[in-house]
Symmetry: C2
Amino acid sequence: MLVVHVHVHVKPECVEAFREASLENARQSVQEPGIARFDVLQQRDHPTHFVLVEAYRTEADPARHKETAHYQHWRDAVAGMMAELRQSTQYVNCFPDDTGW
Amino acid sequence: MLVVHVHVHVKPECVEAFREASLENARQSVQEPGIARFDVLQQRDHPTHFVLVEAYRTEADPARHKETAHYQHWRDAVAGMMAELRQSTQYVNCFPDDTGW
């Protein structure tokens, strides 16, 4: 598993629009065979901060995700909503093991 | 849902011991009725950095978790392994909704 946390800081006036666009993207992303999870989290004490938690089954799956229409639609829709460049960090799963996702 | 990301930076010589202690804690934590997930992630490009992803069903469940023997054992076992104080951030789930965890 390759787990990616994408940290997003959006403009205050864009919080609802970002949330809606990201929900739509998440609903479709979890249908991809290479994606085990696609959580959208909003920080409690900073509601303009979100984390997308993307769990991919193989190394090739992030690139496949980026080829989908729903990803490209999301990317374009949220481009103007960012307060700063989004940042991503890659993790390996220690627990659960690959069968638990 | 209350999702907590606990960021941990461990001393280089403690990576394996921290990993083992955290796996044991995670295995027992996911048995708690108030815990939907308890992932242990290790950062790819900084293997001394871990994130514990703890998904609690209610506001009361983090406190219940801290009362368990396995949490207290983990807390004491890893106390000397930290390179710096661990930091936690609280999130609400936008996706999936509460039924999807």
